[in-house]
Point group: C2
Chain length 422, copies 2
């Protein structure tokens, strides 16, 4: 994998130019894209030209000319934007989505559009898991996670409504960061659920993803340049623990032990019953808002929707305003409850997914370990580095309190290093 | 003006068909559009065809085939969508914005796209005030307010980031409703500030706007079919009171007296000091988020932006993350403080604007009486019916607590009737 931080350092030192980095990406694409299928479209020549034309300006920018993969749920003015749906075949937006424009503003070079599940829900695209092409890369930010995992880009943009950043990051074995709700703008990204949709990032390591998030947001999020000391962690099994594989349960418990050995405090935490209600609230909000957000697609292009999305929207049509309002109240109470609990720890440890990537491209896996945190707007980080018995990646999830993005990234980096040092 | 409720009742009774209503709108457009300039584009023939082709289905739908004007900040698949900016000349989105699709889903017929100020900020379009063509209709939902005021449509969609629904409603003398933040979806509408942008509606009377809001959202918002009894009102002068004209001050105080005579309780309320901070917080949030949301336009088409927007974004570039985060905290505290205060009343009375519509199309007026309520996400209603000495509309604003949209509309209707009965 290409480390964004390392590449930025070498560009800083004059050892590499942005154009060299584009060529490194091009080489990985030439070697692996046929099998992996991370991209809907890409343009190495255009990226190379941008890197050459603006070399000086780019080197001075926070992202320093690094190539970026953009999930095809974000509008781009220079690439078609199809949202993973035949309804949008050949769609050419006039403008960049805000996050894409910010990525370019801070020096990123858009190398191409990465595969998304249909309308960022679950019906998968063509992408295969770079760690095992017979397995799913996870949805919905499939191409972004796979492109980073295959060394095709050092950085990629995604979105998460349920588990669409953390899950593919876990399955592909890369760092994934879903920041606090609304930390990064979503204007110009196709909306599914306005209380849930959150923009996120993929990179090789936690330090890389934090570096990129800091560059794009202008916030003090980097974790490579200082030491916050060992975090206070809570091990949370959540109501989904029974669905986790034996390997995954062991991995989370091992991660907790390693963190403890490295100086962290780790205690067990049982979530109060409201978090079980919150899981139901998630589905209510997603269905109700999806049925409104996708009204055009549902009402005019119903036959072009996948059966699984049609089914969700059919159900969404039947959700009452009262049920929705109650779900919103539950989600607000759960967020407040988590903030109250979080006085006693810096972040929690929990699985990123029930296990390793399932076999088959249609087996998209489960967001059971992600929905709750998306619902309450918490920052979530996938920590890569662990594997199951067969060598497939197992993702450990670090979750913090809403608005505590730097603390959450710091805790995630601590866990990542504890695992690497062990 | 065309009353949506009255037209719906006549369609119900078989006295009118949706096609007849399209023809009534067409007649008003033929008579007044040359002077008023409410529309960017409209298509009477297409609307007529839709009304005829789907007559039975439309009559059974909540909006019953009523023609609707759509602010040209919402994407439409069948009309160009230019956001009031030369950057988007000829732009043809692939899909409808969610609110447009919901409007069609519930039986509305999109008659055309109404003029918006540039990117829903303040640089005005061609629209003139139907009550006096030498005056501004108010921005940014200029065309939607003017189209309703001129009898060209019974219903129009708008958005408000500062005062872009309430102000043009006040200046044109129509009912305007900016619901609670996020009550109506904004997917597919051009984003300016994601913590402020709110979709809203225009119609002839409060009962009309409540009827339309109920139809589109599926919520129990109608105020024509029952009586909630006299509201407890608070007269709030706000820090902007000094900027209000003598006529406007007298109008608000007269409205308070009329409401009292009709049975309401009215008391004076001074806002705590945090609301002065909140006005500053508004500008910080608008500038900071605008500089991100409009990154594409600012970075690539700077010369195509109006000087006033460029100036706002130049200033936005200089707002720090810390200042923004503090502004967000202030806005959350102000919302909480308003909720605490609002235990003692159902809604507040305050001006919708400093006075009547200023002379000249470039004199777009002030949002000083609107920003605070948009910031805290409160439902706001413009109550039409009063005039200044020269007969120009003066708008009275009724503001409620976040999430209390029905109570706010009910209080607004009470005030409207008290003024009409007096």
């Amino acid at each position: 994998m290409l480390s964004a931080l390392e590449l930025a350092g070498r560009i800083d030192a004059g050892a590499l130019t942005p154009r060299d980095v584009v060529e490194m990406c091009a080489a990985a694409i030439a070697e692996r894209e046929t099998v992996v299928g991370a991209f809907v479209t890409f343009d190495v020549d255009a990226a190379s030209r941008i890197a050459a034309d603006a070399a000086q300006r780019l080197v001075a920018a926070p992202l320093r000319g690094l190539p970026v993969g953009v999930k095809d749920i974000f509008d781009t003015f220079d690439f078609p934007t199809e949202y993973g749906s035949p309804i949008y075949a050949g769609n050419r937006p006039r403008a960049d989505a805000a996050l894409v424009a910010l990525t370019r503003r801070t020096g990123g070079i858009v190398l191409g559009k990465t595969v998304t599940a249909e309308l960022a829900y679950v019906h998968p695209g063509k992408t295969r898991n770079p760690r095992d092409p017979d397995r799913t890369p996870g949805v919905s930010s499939s191409g972004s996670a796979a492109a980073v995992a295959a060394g095709m880009v050092p950085l990629a943009l995604g979105t998460q409504t349920g588990g669409s950043v953390i899950r593919p990051a876990a399955y592909c074995g890369v760092a994934g960061f879903k920041p606090s709700y609304k930390l990064m703008p979503l204007g110009g990204a196709k909306c599914f659920s306005w209380h849930l949709d959150t923009a996120g990032l993929f990179a090789a390591t936690i330090a890389d993803v934090a570096f990129a998030a800091a560059a794009i947001t202008g916030r003090d999020l980097r974790v490579d340049d200082r030491d916050r000391g060992p975090p206070r962690l809570a091990l949370v099994r959540t109501p989904a623990w029974e669905d986790a594989s034996a390997d995954m349960r062991a991995a989370v418990e091992r991660a907790a032990r390693r963190a403890e050995e490295a100086g962290a405090t780790v205690r067990d935490l049982d979530l109060p019953p409201i978090f079980a209600d919150a899981l139901l609230a998630f589905s209510t909000i997603q269905g109700f808002e999806g049925f409104q957000s996708l009204a055009f697609e549902y009402d005019r292009h119903r036959d072009a929707l996948s059966p699984v999305l049609r089914k969700l929207l059919d159900a969404g049509a039947g959700i009452s305003v009262d049920a929705y309002d109650e779900a919103r109240r539950v989600s607000r109470r759960a967020r407040q409850m988590f903030a109250d609990l979080a006085g006693d720890f810096d972040a929690i440890l929990t699985p990123s997914a029930p296990g390793a990537a399932p076999r088959g491209l249609d087996a998209v896996g489960s967001a059971a370990f992600n929905r709750l945190w998306t619902l309450i707007g918490s920052p979530c980080v996938n920590v890569p580095g662990m594997t199951d018995a067969s060598g497939l990646p197992l993702g450990i999830q670090v979750v913090g309190r809403f608005g505590r993005d730097h603390g959450t990234l710091s805790a995630a980096r601590f866990v990542e290093q504890a695992l690497a040092d062990a």
